[in-house]
Symmetry: C2
Subunit: 340 residues, 2 copies
Amino acid sequence: MKNTPVTIKDIARSLNISISTVSRALRGMQEIHPDTRRAVMQLAEELDYQPNQLAKNLAKSRTKTIGVIVPNLSYHYFSAMLNSIEEAALQAGYSVLVCQTNESYLRETTNIQNLLRSQVEGFIISLSRDTDNYEHVERLVRKNIPLVLFDRYAESIDVSKVIVDNHAAAFKATEHLIENGCRRIGFLAGPTQLVLSNQRVAGYRAALTKHGLSIGDQYVFHCDYTQENTIIQTLALMSLPQPPDGIVVISDRMAYSAMYALKQKGMRIPEDVAIVSFNNEPVSALFSPTLSSISQPIQEMGTETVRLLLRELNATDTAIPKETKVMETQLIVRASSMRR
Amino acid sequence: MKNTPVTIKDIARSLNISISTVSRALRGMQEIHPDTRRAVMQLAEELDYQPNQLAKNLAKSRTKTIGVIVPNLSYHYFSAMLNSIEEAALQAGYSVLVCQTNESYLRETTNIQNLLRSQVEGFIISLSRDTDNYEHVERLVRKNIPLVLFDRYAESIDVSKVIVDNHAAAFKATEHLIENGCRRIGFLAGPTQLVLSNQRVAGYRAALTKHGLSIGDQYVFHCDYTQENTIIQTLALMSLPQPPDGIVVISDRMAYSAMYALKQKGMRIPEDVAIVSFNNEPVSALFSPTLSSISQPIQEMGTETVRLLLRELNATDTAIPKETKVMETQLIVRASSMRR
DNA sequence: GTGAAAGCGCTAACAA
DNA sequence: TTGTTAGCGCTTTCAC
């Protein structure tokens, strides 16, 4: 027995008033007679009336909704960002529609399309790993649809974005290893199309150069994000004729795999190999040894991302200049890198 | 410069045909003249026409959307379930609207309300930790709105659900510890209002009883899900006059904290204390020592959950009997519990 | 094969 | 303070 939901028309009919009066009463407009309002409210309550959001949005041509597209919510970083974005959005009276790309370019395009069809008023996107063609997001820009990128962005797209200073962070992490006595430092990077990964590699190189420790490209290994592959790359790195005594890893998740591989090989962390990575996931504080990691100000990043989006959402007709917010990171030093 | 999206009306006007013809052409109906269809399609493509989903849904009084409410997507279990639910739903032509409760009863009720207003056709819910009043979900049942619960359910609600055999799983885990020589086994449980936690405690007790090892309630400690609290409870457990030589922990996440605390105290795992927990998160295979854990068939659970929901969604008028699907779990034995 | 018209549930002028 | 009317963008009879 499918139930037909109650509408304002039902309320109007049984109260013998017009539907606009009901609408007004329900929305708490001033000009309504207290008695009328009371009657409407009471009946609505009794019938457990739920306004039809579709109709409401259609009528107002306004959804107060923003679309959020992330690679995968099972990465702690993204689910944490989602929480902070949702919170900030809610505060501004917006609700959020979330989609995952599962790192697929194709799903990214269909997600954008679906959200567009759902009339979201703006987008917050972190690009998928496989995305190397930006036509779909550039189209949003051209159409003047408010959009903010975070974390996974691309240089060539002219949009507002919230990122961290990846170069500086990697520099800091690498220098930290150097200060702890490491002399041959390796890097476990992400896929080469990830801007973020390349920036971190650059920061790592800069630190090595500064300290006169420059070594060849063979100390940088690129992994996809799987455990298996990370383990393989780690072992490959350690099989170099002169294996590293320190490794910067591009994510905690990958560092867990790397550390597992190292321990399997009987290497001690940090004595034989020191480790620093990125993200500072909660589990990193519990790992053995506890993992030194670059922490990103997730809370603030979410707030900033939403702020930048609201700025475009509320912009008057003229196109406003894009803004890039670069956040500072913090190195959380734990056991995995403390050699002295 | 806010852009006015193109509508079928625009297409109709510039092609000098009626909007119903455009509508039909766009939906690929048979009766349309090939030439007309081609013209419409081409113009739609050119203008990057995106159908307004709100209008579509409103007109058809059908959204083909299901609402999913989970405690928190940053728990691996829930984001994994979401992925598997989404996949199954997509396959059946449904899209998914996700909400998080952050373990709050209040947000659970507002989430339900919002999804109702968004005209979702059915719900998949995993109750929040703080939920101990079920009126809000019972109301859905009364209204005959298709609903399936998974993982976090309540006995008293008469709905279809997908769960694992928690009693059997805990029994299996406990017995495994016993077989590995543990004689005083503790239990780090969740909050007492969690059905799932209580069932696991019961399974644990049953195993102890079977093996003549029954011990008092003082070996069961209840934690909230935070790291701090878990560490405190673990230390409390180990401070008993006769500390346990084995611990069953209700989640991997909590086990990480417990193991951290144990290692801090200088205890060896599994030699001094063996550990088994629940969820088999990917990280558990990398932890030191690797963590023995009860694995749930997440993929299958997602599929089943959607299947049960579709069953209600497609049901003819008569109320169909609720179905409870109890899934089997698997104990993945790793180093944390292998003492022989 | 195509068009006119009504309607999905609601909001928003404009009158009264 | 309330009602009437016209949409929002689309689907769906029902004619032609």
